[in-house]
Symmetry: C2
Subunit: 106 residues, 2 copies
């Protein structure tokens, strides 16, 4: 479950701009702020089942976007490569600075 949560957090991070405001709100409460389905249902005055269905659909959408665009997978590969570069240039300050900028660019 922890692994799934981490993955969903990353996928949400990469693709949240493609979701509707409502989808974004439910996902934020559930995955980032650790609300239960019941608490979200109460907050929005809808059924627990409706919240559950919405979140499941959103999770499937995020996986579908990842399947098509691979942003998370590429991010991981890029991170590995950048770390290897950093290992190789520990004493080279200007280059280390550029690599850090590259790393932030996700």
């Amino acid at each position: 479950m922890l692994e799934k949560t981490t993955r969903m957090n990353f996928l949400f991070d990469f693709y949240q701009s493609l979701l509707t405001p409502k989808q974004r709100s439910y996902m934020e409460l559930y995955y980032l702020e650790d609300y239960s389905l019941g608490e979200i249902a109460e907050e929005y005055e809808i059924s627990r089942q409706a919240v559950y269905d919405n979140i499941k659909r959103t999770e499937a959408m995020l996986e579908e976007y990842e399947y098509k665009l691979l942003l998370f997978e590429k991010f991981q590969t890029r991170k590995q490569l950048i770390n290897q570069c950093k290992e190789l240039v520990k004493e080279n300050e200007p280059l280390s600075r550029l690599l850090s900028e590259l790393e932030k660019l996700e």
Copy 2:
């Protein structure tokens, strides 16, 4: 016009997986293979206007995806940073190899 074509080629490259097969076909013929609207209309036995409308809608979709995900913009920034790194490490072969791998990862 050339600038717009280049931009559309890049946006198509980044977001084509989010288009329908029909949208992809028209864009490929128009932007990559340089067909005219009339030629595409003939090929698909539809009106020139229908082809035009479809391509205009697809262009707007690609711009909307870029507005939301910024893949092309980040690609350009990343490319600049990687080129600066390469300038700094011209004689360092292992690092140059890693940077080339990073560069291919778009």
